[in-house]
């Protein structure tokens, strides 16, 4: 391993797809607590649970949105990633979010939990051969053509900026004697959308306002990369003006994602 690895020479892939990441951070946490005996001596530090890893990635979307990053879907399967030529198995995505601003490239942030061993001592730069074969993307998501499709957003006028976030909890379940979970489920799946506009219509009521919209991500050439459906309740309105600026209204839409049970 080189003394200092350089960003330019480090690649990152998920499920063998290369991601053009602006930032990647990987960490691991062990939960321990001290065991002190009644004679005042320290016995040891006991494990309270498994080693839980965390992986955060900011990347530019250069193709269609991958299905394995569908946070609110029913799939609980683990995915694999390769960071600095080290394989990370047992990755479980738990949040995706991005914001869209005029003419700005769209950076997508994702967070994962991971379990199992990662050979962090083996981080390495790409070989010359790997560097030579890095493809150059033709497309990437941009605010220029991306937009919010207002299906039911009563009173909302010109949207100048918006963001999307999907998240869930990933509780891990272990069999006795195991340190790696047999299942990492999905719990409390939520979607939220925040938008800024010149106009938001009437003030919301005690039940908020129904809100249905689609967020359409496109590249500079107008190719649709993905559509994110939001169907929830608009439960926050705010208005702000500052010297030399226009009045800007902001709203937040929250959606709880549920699945109807299939009878078994």
């Amino acid at each position: 391993m080189a003394k200092f690895l350089n960003y330019r020479n480090i690649s990152f892939t998920i499920e063998n797809e290369r991601y053009y990441a602006s930032e990647i951070s990987l960490s691991a946490q062990a939960s321990t607590s001290a065991v002190i005996l009644n004679d005042g001596t320290l016995l040891n530090y006991a494990p309270e649970g498994a080693v839980v890893g965390s992986l955060s990635v900011n990347f530019y979307l250069t193709g269609s949105f991958p299905s394995y990053l569908n946070i609110t879907g029913t799939s609980e399967s683990a995915i694999t990633a390769r960071f600095a030529n080290v394989l990370i198995t047992g990755l479980y995505p738990k949040s995706v979010n991005f914001s869209v601003e005029p003419f700005q490239p769209i950076s997508i942030s994702t967070d994962f939990d991971w379990y199992g061993n990662v050979s962090v001592q083996s981080f390495d730069e790409n070989t010359d051969d790997q560097k030579a074969n890095i493809p150059v993307p033709d497309y990437f998501a941009n605010g220029y053509k991306s937009y919010i499709n207002k299906k039911d957003l009563e009173g909302v006028d010109n949207v100048v900026q918006f963001s999307y976030s999907a998240s869930c909890e990933r509780p891990a379940f272990f069999n006795v004697e195991d340190k790696i979970p047999f299942r990492v489920a999905k719990l409390n799946k939520n979607v939220s959308c925040e938008l800024s506009s010149n106009e938001l219509g009437d003030l919301l009521s005690i039940t908020g306002k129904n809100a249905v919209c689609d967020i359409v991500l496109k590249d500079l050439y107008g190719t649709t990369l993905n559509t994110f459906a939001v169907s929830g309740v608009l439960n926050s309105q705010s208005y702000k003006v500052s010297e030399g600026q226009y009045l800007l209204a902001s709203a937040k839409i929250d959606q709880v994602v549920v699945e109807k049970k299939t009878l078994i």
């Binding site: 272990f174 004697e177 049970k261």
Partner: protein
């Protein structure tokens, strides 16, 4: 719908259908074939051709000599031939056991009779064949012939009981058995058709082959059962004979009659894998056993957080002055209740486990005189595998869609304090070994059983590392422990005493035992209650302890069986050694190397060492 299914609180469980495929965790009620069962003597279908029916339903079906050796098995169909034994040789007569539903015929024993001739016949029998040890060994189930000693007309099972190796033979024609052949009940059916000159062979409702161009002996009138010298033989439940060829539907009726009467047909089966369509994958076939199970360990594993509570069942005699005698009420000293956690189950898995729980009382009885069998299950560290538990209560919660947490409370009833290997924490020669002076791996808290002719010396010893300069990390590699450092040596590295230290946060409450004179409507007076009035009763907590320390501590308590007295050193500021016994303790397995143990200690003034002892080692042969 059977009473078994209607008695469950779970819907959408059906009888097995061989034409369907099934998914893992699916549940079926296996009844051999779908449809009705029919009593062989039922006449609603007209003349079925029933000419022979031997069963064990009534004592008067047997003719015996004065020693209850069978000299005749009477045909339930009047006017038909019987099976008899006319020899004076005692060795040729089966013994009738009036408590069983079968007639066991082994060794030189056999019965024979005449009057069973038929060109075409349907012959259905239910037998249990004793295990065959050698691949060349065999058992003759029955034979049709014209006289004793002929070589054809035989129905034989042969070969060890593996798929492909277990064979059914009609004379020299071999057919692969679809189900295990030995030490289990089997329904064998032959359908002999003189028009097509063939005999179809069925095992448990599944057609396994056709014997073409069979010799004429098969049509003859002498029937012989038994005659398997030097073997433990065959148990005969019923033999049913119809002249002529019955339809497949009729055969199904009668086979199902036998199945419902004798098989364990009330326990459900659970898919441990995805099951392809096809009757060859039914639960009782060799192939089906790869897909269906009644073993909970093949379906689920326990989750962390599982726990157990122990409480000793004692008869306590208070003798005054703080002296007390505890006598265990029986050899199963400990009342043990496990809480088995199964967390993070999908809805399908939860349905499977809840159904398994609700179906457990349908297990077969342990014997004619006992209740039903418990569930054999592998417990968590450090308890034994294949423990027999009785599932009592279930608690099911769902924090979110398709996430289910289930807790089952289960009792262990048959753990004997006379078993020197232990009750639930056992001498398994893996985690706990018999002591040997040559040791290849030894670490702090290792437990050894030391055998000795002396009651006071033998027992379990705990390696504390003292006297060997390796600290708590122990030593790895061959190590010869000299007699001086052995468990009973003068400078031993081992201890038999309670060396475990509780947590830093502890509390001890104490109460003076007093005699109260209650002067009604006035006041009360206290007098000291003899001597030894400051006896303690308190809990000691050991939280977040490693698996190894937990095993050692729990083995110590297991060996004490809830009533044996040992020494305990009270912590600061007491620092005194007192005699105690531990009638109750609990253990929760939080995570790997994280165990919570809470023990209750009661101080007694009785001595630790018994003055008279039961100095006999009881060895269990199985």
């Amino acid at each position: 719908m059977s009473a078994i299914l209607s008695g469950l609180n779970i819907k959408n469980i059906y009888e097995y259908d061989g034409t369907q495929s099934y998914s893992k965790y699916d549940i079926i009620d296996y009844q051999l074939v779908t449809g009705i069962s029919v009593y062989p003597a039922y006449t609603g279908f007209g003349n079925t051709g029933l000419t022979t029916w031997f069963n064990n339903d009534f004592l008067n079906s047997f003719v015996t000599d004065s020693r209850f050796n069978v000299t005749g098995w009477l045909n339930s169909v009047s006017g038909s031939g019987n099976l008899i034994q006319i020899s004076d040789d005692e060795n040729t007569k089966p013994f009738v056991d009036f408590n069983e539903y079968y007639l066991n015929i082994y060794g030189d024993q056999f019965l024979s009779g005449s009057g069973f001739a038929s060109d075409s016949r349907t012959f259905i029998t239910l037998v249990d064949v004793s295990e065959i040890k050698l691949s060349t060994d065999s058992r003759k189930i029955f034979q049709f012939c014209s006289s004793y000693g002929e070589n054809s007309g035989k129905f034989i099972v042969s070969g060890v009981s593996n798929s492909g190796a277990a064979k059914i033979l009609l004379d020299s024609q071999q057919y692969n058995a679809v189900s295990p052949l030995y030490d289990t009940k089997n329904i064998f059916t032959i359908v002999q058709d003189s028009n097509s000159n063939s005999i179809k062979v069925r095992q448990n409702g599944y057609e396994i082959g056709t014997y073409s161009s069979f010799p004429s002996n098969w049509k003859s009138g002498v029937l012989i059962i038994g005659d398997n010298p030097q073997t433990s033989g065959v148990k005969y439940y019923e033999l049913i004979h119809f002249t002529g060829v019955l339809s497949e539907t009729q055969i199904d009726y009668y086979e199902k009659y036998l199945y419902e009467k004798y098989f364990d047909n009330t326990r459900l089966y659970f898919a441990k894998n995805n099951v392809p369509a096809g009757e060859q994958y039914s639960p009782i076939t060799f192939s089906g056993r790869l897909y269906w199970t009644q073993d909970i360990d093949e379906l689920f594993k326990l989750s962390y957080g599982s726990s157990v509570n122990f409480s000793s069942n004692l008869s306590t005699l208070e003798m005054g002055d703080g002296y007390r005698s505890n006598v265990a009420k029986n050899v199963n000293t400990l009342q043990t209740t496990f809480q088995l956690n199964f967390d993070g189950l999908t809805d399908t898995q939860a349905k499977c486990l809840i159904t398994y729980f609700e179906n457990t009382p349908e297990a077969q009885n342990k014997s004619l005189y006992e209740g039903f069998k418990g569930v054999n299950i592998d417990l968590f560290n450090p308890y034994k595998n294949n423990a027999e538990l009785y599932f009592k209560t279930i608690s099911h919660t769902t924090p979110y869609n398709n996430i289910n947490n289930i807790k089952i409370n289960a009792e262990s009833l048959y753990d004997s304090s006379l078993d020197y290997k232990g009750m639930l924490v056992q001498l398994d020669e893996v985690s706990i070994k018999t002591y040997n002076s040559t040791i290849y791996d030894i670490n702090y808290n290792d437990v050894f059983y030391y055998g000795s002719d002396s009651f006071n010396l033998r027992g379990y010893y705990y390696y504390t590392g003292s006297g060997y300069n390796q600290g708590s990390s122990g030593v790895t590699g061959p190590l010869i422990i000299g007699p001086n450092n052995s468990p009973t040596g003068a400078d031993s590295w081992f201890t038999k005493d309670f060396y475990f230290k509780g947590d830093i946060d502890y509390g001890i409450d104490s109460e003076i035992r007093l005699v109260v004179n209650d002067q009604k409507n006035s006041t009360i007076e206290y007098e000291k209650d003899g001597i030894n009035y400051n006896l303690m009763q308190f809990n000691v907590v050991f939280n977040k302890r490693s698996n190894k320390e937990a095993r050692a501590l729990l083995k110590f308590l297991d060996e004490k069986a809830g009533f044996k007295i040992f020494e305990y050193i009270l912590p600061q500021p007491y620092n005194k050694t007192i005699n105690v016994y531990c009638p109750e303790w609990s253990h929760t397995y939080n995570f790997y190397d994280n165990n919570d143990i809470n023990i209750k200690l009661i101080e007694v003034k009785s001595p630790v060492r018994a003055t008279s002892v039961f100095n006999t080692i009881i060895s269990w042969s199985s």
